[in-house]
């Protein structure tokens, strides 16, 4: 409805600039409050805790000031060169593989009319639903020395670079798909029609319209995947064998040696990719034009029997692989003793048998995931909208942008420790947050802020700022435009963000492991504890419960999206 008004009123406008809408005094106040709120949130839950931790890098273990001694010690460490080389090369390789696969996958989902799109969307999410232990177990059962398919590795060992790349591709795939699907799903059909009328072939249209259109999403995906791999220690820890990575160095320093100073040093080094990402983001975001102007005509893929079938085959292959890994983990949860006694059993699901907390940790996880999804989505989307749409305050926006990208580069373990140092400090008035569910929720929101923020930004960038300009000229208050135009238009992205928070909160371990209290222990930690105790099958079983829960929520989300889509996204179809 607003769309028509917008169309009609548009001719009244002569100058349209991004963020250049006139602002009422009341709105200015609101914008200021909002920006301040977001900046304060990020400062309190990202910047200050990290600063508290990084300050440790100039102290030794006994708390004596040592200047840059920790940094020189790090530079002289014999394993450093190799771990930097390993981290960079394996992360690059993973990034190339993941982004290529994810781009094709997202392209099939958005630009073809293949069958089973809803199913494939769900399949792409599988890795998100699973705690990182599941793929590790599955990869060992498949490619380990007793694995079913070890012949495929031709004598190479899974414990090392091969295992790391396989595990990381699995782990990062949904992140890339999520960003790229959002980027690809908004496009202006008029461009394609014009190009076709001018005689441009399919390839030319792809190169000149599609690729430039998703440039921002593509670059975000590359940086997200790269940074995720560089900072992840879960996969290399479990399946990397002796291959040293920078992130496993953090693990060694913090958990192995309890040397927080050195851990902080490696943590600082790990921030480098994020800072680069920020620079690139800043550079590119000035060039991204809105793809969807007020008079856009949504792109509708046409039927193409051969292409659609190829797309289906590709997605079936990728989705099948993802499902296959999950299936192997499911199998792991019902065998008696791998690989010597394969008798199926359900005994592994009797968690009280392995873990004192039994099923209560599962309930804790539900609470955590619910609040994370609710709070996280509201904060992230409002924050992204303010950064993209509020007028002026360039410096503050820059700061918020940087802080929003930062969490991606911070290994969860580093964040968890930083939270202890900051929130448990005797002088901190926020100390009451520590040791409750709230700190787990806040840590999880902060930990997964970046990808959600990028998704929201990608969705928002594709909406023309004219919407606000037009509604302003119609004297519609800005929050009305936000609630009645922006939010409905971005609803698919918003739901994606909510679900992203939910499933990540179900599986997150590395940050919360330092923060949970006896009565808030989440299921993901229980999984780790059980695996620790040698209960691989019990761990797999609890992990499967997490997967099932997330899958059910995901399915509900799909249903809800469909209903909402019909109501708010009808404009995308002709």
């Amino acid at each position: 409805m607003s769309l028509f008004k917008a169309e009609a009123a548009k001719s009244a406008f002569f100058t349209i600039r991004q963020s250049g809408r006139p602002v009422e005094p009341g709105e200015r106040w609101l914008f200021g409050l909002g920006m301040g709120g977001i900046a304060l949130f990020l400062a309190l839950f990202v910047l200050l805790p990290l600063c508290t931790l990084f300050l440790r890098s100039v102290y030794d273990r006994d708390g004596a000031f040592v200047g840059l001694a920790n940094f020189t010690a790090f530079l002289e460490a014999p394993t450093l060169v190799r771990s930097v080389v390993n981290s960079l090369s394996l992360s690059l390789l993973t990034t190339v593989i993941t982004v290529a696969l994810a781009f094709l996958y997202a392209f099939c989902l958005t630009r073809t009319r293949m069958a089973g799109k809803g199913l494939f969307r769900l399949l792409a999410q599988i890795p998100l639903l699973a705690p990182s232990l599941l793929p590790a177990i599955a990869l060992v059962y498949l490619f380990g020395n007793k694995g079913i398919l070890r012949g495929l590795l031709m004598g190479e060992s899974i414990y090392g670079p091969i295992g790391i790349v396989m595990g990381e591709v699995f782990y990062t795939f949904p992140h890339a798909v999520m960003i790229l699907t959002v980027a690809l799903s908004t496009s202006d059909a008029r461009l394609y029609e014009a190009a076709e009328a001018l005689g441009a072939g399919a390839w030319k249209r792809f190169v000149t319209i599609t690729l430039p259109g998703v440039r921002y999403g593509l670059i975000s995906a590359v940086f997200v995947v790269f940074t995720l791999v560089v900072t992840d220690f879960g996969v290399p820890k479990v399946i990397g064998g002796s291959t040293n990575m920078l992130a496993t160095e953090v693990y060694k320093q913090v958990v192995g040696l309890q040397n927080f100073g050195m851990g902080a040093v490696v943590g600082i080094v790990l921030l480098v990719p994020a800072v680069l990402a920020f620079a690139a983001d800043w550079f590119w975001q000035r060039r991204q034009m809105a793809l969807l102007s007020a008079r856009s005509v949504p792109f509708q893929p046409r039927e193409n029997p051969v292409g659609d079938r190829l797309a289906f085959l590709f997605c079936a292959l990728v989705g099948g692989l993802l499902l296959g890994l999950l299936g192997v983990a499911g199998f792991a949860s019902i065998v008696t003793f791998w690989p010597y006694n394969l008798t199926p059993t359900l005994a592994n699901y009797d968690f009280a048998e392995f873990d004192a907390a039994g099923w209560s940790s599962y309930a804790n996880s539900l609470t955590l995931a619910f609040w994370t999804a609710l709070a996280g989505t509201a904060i992230v989307f409002a924050g992204a909208w303010l950064v993209e749409r509020a007028p002026g305050r360039a410096a503050m926006k820059g700061a918020v942008r940087l802080l929003a990208i930062l969490p991606l580069a911070v290994p969860g373990m580093v964040l968890g420790l930083a939270y202890i140092f900051f929130f448990n400090a005797p002088w901190n008035p926020l100390g009451w947050l520590y040791h409750g569910m709230a700190i787990l929720v806040l840590a999880t929101v902060a930990h997964f802020y970046t990808v959600s923020h990028l998704t929201a930004v990608t969705a928002l960038k594709q909406l023309d700022a004219e919407f606000e300009a037009v509604s302003a000229s119609l004297k519609v208050p800005v929050w009305t435009t936000f609630l009645r135009v922006t939010v409905p238009l971005c609803l698919p992205a918003i739901l994606d963000i909510a679900i992203y928070f939910f499933v990540n909160a179900m599986t997150t371990v590395s940050a919360v492991v330092f923060l949970y209290a006896p009565e808030t222990k989440p299921a993901s930690v229980a999984v780790l504890n059980m695996d620790d105790a040698g209960e691989v099958a019990g761990a797999a079983a609890m992990a499967m419960m997490i997967v099932l829960t997330s899958a059910v929520v995901r399915a509900l989300h799909a249903l809800l999206s469909r209903v909402l889509q019909a109501r708010t996204q009808a404009w995308r179809h002709r």
Partner: protein
């Protein structure tokens, strides 16, 4: 649309309320106990203690030794734990040097073996039981590969074991360090390092977790894992075709111990727990899982546990030396073997 969101929110809140109300609160004194005990020990230990001490309730925060120690150290300025029950003595020694423990002589602690408590009076920590470095040997895989059963550390250097052995990285895992410091103490520095040089040639890979090598051996991934005897016994009980071997030269060992955290608001309850943890009754619980306990009078056959564990433990096990030289040893170790790259198969 708005109405629908509200409805959704209400439903979710109702669900939450149902979920959270399941965990009720009692009037008892709640002790927050940090621990690295195995999962299966938590319930029996808690039940046994609470049965003897009505009015005190244990709330566990359990994780691996490294994580719990890191958490305790990070919380140093504002401790959240009341008691640490079941953490490596070497970790407690670190906490003690940071002034984080409240020395306390539990009732009856004088009955415990002398090596099993802090030398100071009153002791900062009191031992519970010992665990040690062991070799987990998969008999089924060994049969297939025609590998003889090793009986000593020296056996592991045999060329036929090349690429068949897994051990924990001592920088990531306390168990790994236990083995390394054990070799250095019994063989002396020169022989110890030259032993590890040769052993390194046979090692397929170094893991980050201490129990992982035994689990890998149990699953047949690699036939031999240098790990913890406890994990070995546990895996064997679960049906793994492994033998748990305590090397004939003697093995490095470590103990689990109890300590009260300085600054606890619940000192009386904490002392009650410390008393109980040192009692004969508590040791009768420990012996269900570990053969060597702090109490000299408590013994029992533990299923699938290697025989003569007490005899196999290194006589000269200097925790203070190990703690003082840890950084140096690990730096040396990293220099020599840390860069070992891809596993050789």
């Amino acid at each position: 649309m708005i109405r629908r969101t509200t409805l959704l929110g209400t439903c979710a809140l109702a669900l939450l309320a149902a979920v959270t109300s399941a965990t009720g609160a009692g009037a008892a004194t709640r002790l927050t106990v940090y621990t690295a005990l195995e999962n299966e020990q938590l319930t029996p230990y808690k039940k046994a203690f609470e049965a003897d001490n009505p009015g005190i309730e244990i709330e566990w925060v359990r994780d691996s030794t490294g994580v719990v120690t890191a958490k305790l150290l990070a919380e140093k300025d504002n401790p959240k734990a009341d008691v640490v029950w079941g953490l490596a003595a070497s970790s407690l020694m670190i906490l003690d040097t940071q002034g984080m423990l409240m020395p306390y002589q539990p009732k009856g602690a004088e009955e415990l073996k002398t090596g099993f408590r802090d030398a100071k009076t009153p002791p900062a920590w009191v031992g519970m039981d010992a665990w040690m470095a062991a070799i987990c040997f998969n008999t089924v895989e060994a049969e297939k590969k025609k590998l003889p059963k090793p009986a000593s550390w020296a056996d592991l250097l045999k060329p036929e074991y090349k690429g068949q052995i897994v051990m924990p990285n001592p920088a990531s895992s306390g168990t790994g360090f236990l083995a390394v410091s054990g070799w250095l103490q019994t063989m002396g520095a020169d022989k110890g390092w030259s032993y590890m040089d040769k052993l390194n040639d046979n090692i397929a890979l170094y893991t980050h977790s201490g129990s992982k090598p035994c689990k890998m051996a149990a699953a047949g991934e690699y036939p031999i894992g240098i790990s913890i005897e406890y994990t070995g016994a546990q895996q064997k009980t679960k049906g793994a075709p492994i033998d748990v071997i305590l090397a004939s030269e003697g093995v490095g060992w470590e103990m689990e111990a109890t300590a009260i955290v300085k600054g606890t608001q619940k000192a009386e309850a904490a002392k009650a727990l410390a008393d109980w943890a040192a009692s004969r009754k508590a040791n009768e619980q420990y012996v269900n899982f570990y053969q060597v306990t702090a109490h000299p009078g408590v013994t029992k056959e533990t299923p699938n546990y290697p025989k003569n564990a007490e005899a196999a433990m290194n006589k000269t096990n200097d925790f203070v030396w190990a703690a003082a030289n840890r950084d140096r040893i690990l730096a040396d170790w990293e220099k020599r073997y840390g860069a070992k790259s891809e596993p050789k198969s």
